[in-house]
Amino acid sequence: MRQRPSGLMRRTVAIATAIVGTLSTAIAFILLAVSIHDPDTIGALFPYIVFTSTVGLLILFSTISLNLYRLVRKFLAGESGAQLHFRFVGIFVSLALIPILVISLFTTQILQQQDRGEEEIAYALEGSRALYKTALNEKKKRIIDNLYKLESTLSSAPHNMVDLLLEEAREENGAVEFALYDFSGSQIGISSMLSEPGLIPKPLGTLVVNQIQQGLEYHKVEGHEDLDQILHIAIPIHNYYSERGERRILSTYYTIPKQLQTGKEKISDAVMRNKKRLYLESQRGTVHNIAFVLLLLLSLLSALWFAFYSTRRLTDPIHELAKGTRSVAAGIYNQPIPHISNDDLGFLVQSFNDMILNLDHTHKNLQQSQQLIEHQNTRLEGILSHLSSGVIVLDSQRRLERINTAACTILDSKITPTPGIPLGVIAQHHPHIMPLANSLQSHIQSSKREWSESLTITTSHGIRHLFCRGSCLIEKGQLKGFVVVFDDVTELISAQKNAAWSEVARRLAHEIKNPLTPIQLSADRLRHRYLPKMSEDEGAVLDRATNTIVQQVDTMKRMVQAFSDYARAPKLQITTFTPATILEEVAELYQAQHPDHIKLQIEGPLPNLEGDVDRLRQILNNLIKNGLESCGESDVADVTITAKAVENTLQIKICDNGLGIDSELKAQIFEPYATTKPKGTGLGLAIVKRMIDEHNGEISLTSSGQGSCFELTLPNQHEAQG
């Protein structure tokens, strides 16, 4: 897979950052270890330690922050695996932090246990100072005693002699400066090795003057830039025995005695050495603390980063597994999870991939099977829909599973299979199929595997004769349902009946027609020969008898002719004609006889019709005649003829207002010898029906108490029957 440039760059930057961070952290660890082992090297190594640690810490901190930010964002977005990732990070961080913090606590305690020698040094310093002061005080006492010995000389010495006397006294006492002041602090004279005497004599300090004026001596160790420390002693001098004497102040400076100075320096050196040692110890602690903090931070952040890294390594396959599971749940089986590792999780991922591969394979097989089933179903539906036989399939609970188009046509019901609805319930909404449903019920209850039965049902097209064959559907010894195949054999039975009647008619015509003419001729001969010879009474009997014979023979002849016509099926003479003309001719014929009883209505133009004109005329004659006679022998019914073109057919309705036809007879009105008339042969409508059939047309009867209505439908174009 080719990566996008930005993705490649990001990856490169991430790898480079990881390398730099790891190297910096590792180098920082090494340098810290070296510097802790040898503290003298820390000075030189410290900048590098700081740099590498800072780089390492920054990279670690940034990486951890980025990881944490991403994790929190995932957690808030509710992404799969985020909670687990969060929990694992918490666990790993706790596992890493607890030992680090415990070790840190103890290490800090150990580092804080430094040498507490500072108090001892202060104590020694205090003791040394006290000792030094004691020795210095002894020296001061001696100096002061010696100074008071000069009191009488200096208190009364004239001003011009003061400098000389002071010079002698200073040299005699080993001082570095002798100065004489009056009691207000103004200088009288000075002999000094500390500084050259100035033009303007310096007055004595106010503090010294005040103390002297209160009758106290002044002595203090003062600092000196060159001599480090000098002893300043001032005393009041006054010669009480001389009247010339005045109150003056003698201020002197002495160097610290060499022995004391040496001792002081030794003590001072020792103190400072110890202070330096303690200070460096504390700095060592500070440096160690810094090193420890850096180590702690590096360890802590490394542990945190490792926690994130380990958790991501651990949860990534789980996240991928969750994604894969969602894909599988969504029906996507062709997205295997990338193989990450060879550990247990890798094995799990591999197993999952194998599983979805199998699922994909199974799913494809299932889809193929479904497609095959759908194809077979479609094919079966096609076959069933093209079957002329009705097919009904029930499940084992007698619920309708399948019904084909032919079954609906035969049963004259638009039945759709409804899941869970038994056939009996469907039959309640479709009364036409009730006989069939009852028959099925009884056969199913009889536990026969196969059965056949002829049924009669009444539809809107009249009584239909069905021949049903049923069988149980058994799979692996279990009853899975029932299948019923039935055919509408009404036409077949009718054709069989017609054929039978035709045969009967032909034989009757043949057998009866031949003797009728001799009988009639014989009767005529008898009357002509014997009537004149007979008496009037006997002649009248003979005349009636022969007349009866002749009339009955005529009747029989007509009947035989009718039979003959029925049995005979002359070939159709197909021509194209205008049906309106034929209708008008036939109507005019009857209008001449019954002008008020025939009414012809032609709705719209009628297209030309292909057919046998004579047969059509015969059909119309038969039906109009039947209509006129439908009120019985004594009365003439009104007949209305309506014709109109409907699509590619001609529809003719011939309705009368006669007595109508009984419902019982209505079903078989088109069968031979079905008639309502006392003298009818019952062949008229049968002949009409046969002629209509020859023209591929249809005829139906609707009858009520107020008359009957025959509806003819003839196709405009004739198609020869096969």
């Binding site: 820390i42 700081v50 480090d228 420390q229 002081k264 103190v271 202070k275 330096k276 060592r284």
Partner: protein
């Protein structure tokens, strides 16, 4: 990406604020540098202002002597791609120490071994402050057709410090109170 940059900016700001804390501030500044010309010489004068931080004074009071070095270099100005050749250079070094017994600060010049004891650190630092005629440049060393610079600076001698103290001086960005280096101050010699 923007949030990541914000995070880095925040870290940088915290670091800068930490390193520039005003409580722990020390510095050495070159003040009033000048070159005085005589008939045969150029005399370099300089003043250095020393401000010691608490940590430095603490180290001093705990027996750590501090050596301050004032350096002076005369360089010939070379083209920008070349290093300036050094014509003359000089160093003045002072050792500043403290003794608790006497509570006094001691300053020793390593050039002439002169020394002084001072009651306060300011007195001692003031003693180091002024350098009159710190460097005398003989005019015969200089060419009229060339330019010359005098560079001067004062700093603490980190190498003379104990190893455990050196980290502070080596990483002054972390310890501003140990930033004891004035940096080079340059003056052009006007011939």
């Amino acid at each position: 990406m923007r949030s990541e940059l914000s995070l880095l900016s925040l870290l940088l700001t915290i670091t800068l604020l930490w390193t520039t804390s005003p409580d722990t501030y020390a510095e050495i500044v070159v003040t009033h540098p000048e070159i005085r010309e005589t008939t045969d010489h150029y005399m370099v004068n300089a003043e250095f202002s020393y401000t010691m931080g608490k940590s430095v004074v603490d180290a001093l009071k705990n027996g750590i002597p501090l050596i301050f070095v004032a350096e002076y270099i005369v360089e010939e100005v070379a083209p920008f791609w070349a290093t300036n050749p050094v014509i003359q250079q000089r160093e003045h070094s002072f050792v500043l120490s403290y003794r608790e017994f006497t509570n006094r600060y001691y300053l020793i010049s390593l050039d002439n071994n002169s020394h002084g004891a001072y009651g306060t650190i300011e007195e001692a630092l003031n003693k180091m402050m002024v350098r009159h005629d710190a460097m005398i440049i003989d005019k015969s060393l200089l060419s009229d057709d060339k330019s010359y610079l005098v560079k001067m600076r004062s700093s603490i001698d980190s190498k003379a410090l104990p190893g455990l103290i050196r980290p502070y001086v080596y990483t002054p960005y972390l310890w501003p109170e140990w930033k004891l280096d004035s940096g080079w101050h340059t003056i052009k010699i006007e011939q």
